[in-house]
Amino acid sequence: MAKVECSHCKLEFDESVMIIKEEDGKKLYFCCKGCEGVYTLLNSKGLDSFYERLGSNKLEPANIDFSDLDRFDSEAFAKKYIKTTKDGFSEINLIIEGIHCSACVWLNEKVLHQSDGVIEANINYSNNKAKVIWDSDVIKLSKIIEIIRAIGYDAHPYDPKIQEEKATKLRNEYYSRILVGVFATMNIMWIAIAQYTGFFTGMERSHKNILNIAEFILATPTLFYSGWIFFRGAYYGLKNRFVNMDLLVSAGALLAYLYSVYAMVTETGEVYFDSVTMIITFVLVGKYLEILSKKRAADTLDKIIGSMPTEAFVVKDGKKELKPIETIEIGDIIETKAGEKIVLDGVITKGSAMLDLSFLTGESEPILKKENDEVLSGSIVIDSPIQYRVTKNNNDSIVYQITELLSDAVTKKPHIEQLANKISGYFSITILTIAILTFLGWYFIGKVGFEQSLIIAISVIVIACPCALGLATPMATLVGISKAAKEGILFKEAITLESMAKATILALDKTGTITIGKPIVIKQNFIKEFDLSLLYSLAKISNHPISKAIAKHLEEKNENLKELNLDNIKEIQAKGVVAKYKDIELLGGNTELLKEYNIKFDIDSKNSIYIFAINKEVVAIFELKDVIKPNAKEFISKVKELGLKVVMLTGDRESVAKEIAKELGIDEVKANLLPQDKASYIDKLHQNGEIVVMVGDGINDSIALAKSDIAIAMGSGADVALEVSDVVLLNNSLSSLQKAFVLSKRVFRAIKENLGFSLVYNITVIPLAVLGYVNPLFAALAMSLSSLIVVGNSFRIYRSKI
């Protein structure tokens, strides 16, 4: 049958399943009612140019759902997400779901602009975040959300961490300052060339004055606008009683500037305006590089809290009532539907269900909970509705405690002191002292007069190029970061590369980090021939990891698998699935399921078993197991070679953990750990003075990740884990983890080389400056050259093998 494109979402479907409509002699096809609705709406509003803009992009079929709109008008919601602007309008930050291309952004903005009461709607294409400002007297938020949903998108509120806004603002601020600096430096340089030529060949005083004034005009905004950051930094440094590089930079630049102004006004000597702008601009670029690679503020807590429902159905006297979580008391009965989260800790009073506890344990296999069993908040009810009695209120429930611990850990994250910071402190003090001594020496002993002594002292500060020192770390780490990104290792912050080289302990999570994290078929036994499509269809029904693994296994081994239409499907909790195909009875699950259906079959294995039976006769047996990732053993031994101790932390049973540890040669194992236990173990390591690298993937690892010095997450891991981590391994492989270690050592070496070079440079040129042999041309050249060498050396990392 021919495939046709849906007129709205542009996906292709069989003609027979499409809704066909005729309009203006044109045949329109729609894959679903949703798409049809959106198409008609856009046409009636005159927004059909959307489809022109869409080009060859495809959308998702519009799934329009107007339920739960009320929640956007509730007071609890408003308090949490809605801000009031200065003008008295309401403002909210939304994440728009379903945006695929710029046409989508255009459409959303357009419909919002057209609605009454919306004052401003601005959607960012790259991150799908939208800021909407509206007049709450004219339109309600629920109506705005309804408009967005009506055109086939969905919107969720989010709480923009002020930190994130701050970070962008800071970057923009630096950017403006650098722009001014670069502009002034470039212009001063070509004026300075005339000055230098004049210095050697002589030029008229009046020409020199004009050039001096032009340089003065350009240098002034650079020093006071671009250089403001250094003055501020120096001030805060002095206030806290320590000398930092900012002090050296600002003192040098300011003195050179003041002297140049003096030289310009009195028409004596040379001006140093070019040095002023160059120092400021170069060091500012170094600082900017550091900020550029700084980790964006983690929205961690928002993510966890945002994923938790704010309200729940409380059952009282046979009636259901939606209540905010904070007002629910101990002893209340809450009803939770399939697919929803348990909001408070409690005990099941009615029903039984499979619960996904991966939030707490990291294990993906769901667990059956029956009446009178305890349920923990944060777990997800997978299959059937349950009612439970609340035993702990909001502040004592485990989710709340985890978020508390997490927020604590994130704010108190340890920071390893950077080599460059340490050195630059000493460096600044030394240079300033030398400069003062030089001045005093020339003035009292050399007797060259106040002016000449001052010039020489300033030249010491100017030539003691802080540029190379300032660029030493950021350049090397930035090159390292881009090299890592090429290998699928995402460093969120530059400093991590440097500190990772100093790590002493590697703590690994088991499931998902060392192992693949999902069961896979390790053994299969076909007792009798049968149509594999039957088994495939049965396995496809369930979302249980074992069923999924079977379906995937079949897909890999066989082609021509068909999904048949099964009837009488019944999922039996923690046991398996039964269904009928025509008259054939299908049954797939574990031994418990066989017992329930009175099929006699004996098998004993440590691994998970999946048995498939047709008409109560067993035809195939599969054994499944979560297996260790390839090259895990090699990785562990390599890491040990690098001098790190390896520890495994897992929420799994001790016996399983021990077996894997033995196989891989891991020295230490801690099993049966809850999220808090993992974190406190990291604390213990810290107390022993260790620098810890933690690798994990689940929400249950996130506190430990946040507490560790360097946190590394698997790219497939939970959002929160990715969020708190410093490094993300995009391809989840242990070999890229190994590469990260090697790279960090390489970068650390480059940093040391850079620092070493700039120190050697200074040791050679400072004596020359102290003796008064430095002229402006030489100073400018030497300064640029030293910076270039640092940049060049850093780029060598790019070519190194890791």
């Binding site: 803009r53 255009w106 294409y125 923009n172 722009l179 502009f183 004009i210």
Partner: protein, 79 residues
Amino acid sequence: MSDNVLILMLGISTFLGALGLFALLWGLKTGQFDDQSKFLDGARFDGEDELKDAIMMEKKKEEALKRKREKEKNYMPGD
């Protein structure tokens, strides 16, 4: 070369450069570079309609503000 020529050359070239710099800074400050792809799409697609839209939004804001002010003026405490 006379002094005036030198002044004129330096002055005009720096001034022109400064104009470009200020335009860039202004764009940065008003958030025009915040979203790279939107910025490029604006150049590709935006036409008269978008300009009208922008004017409409400004008018709408003005009206809403006016309404707000009037409401505040006419506000009478209940008794």
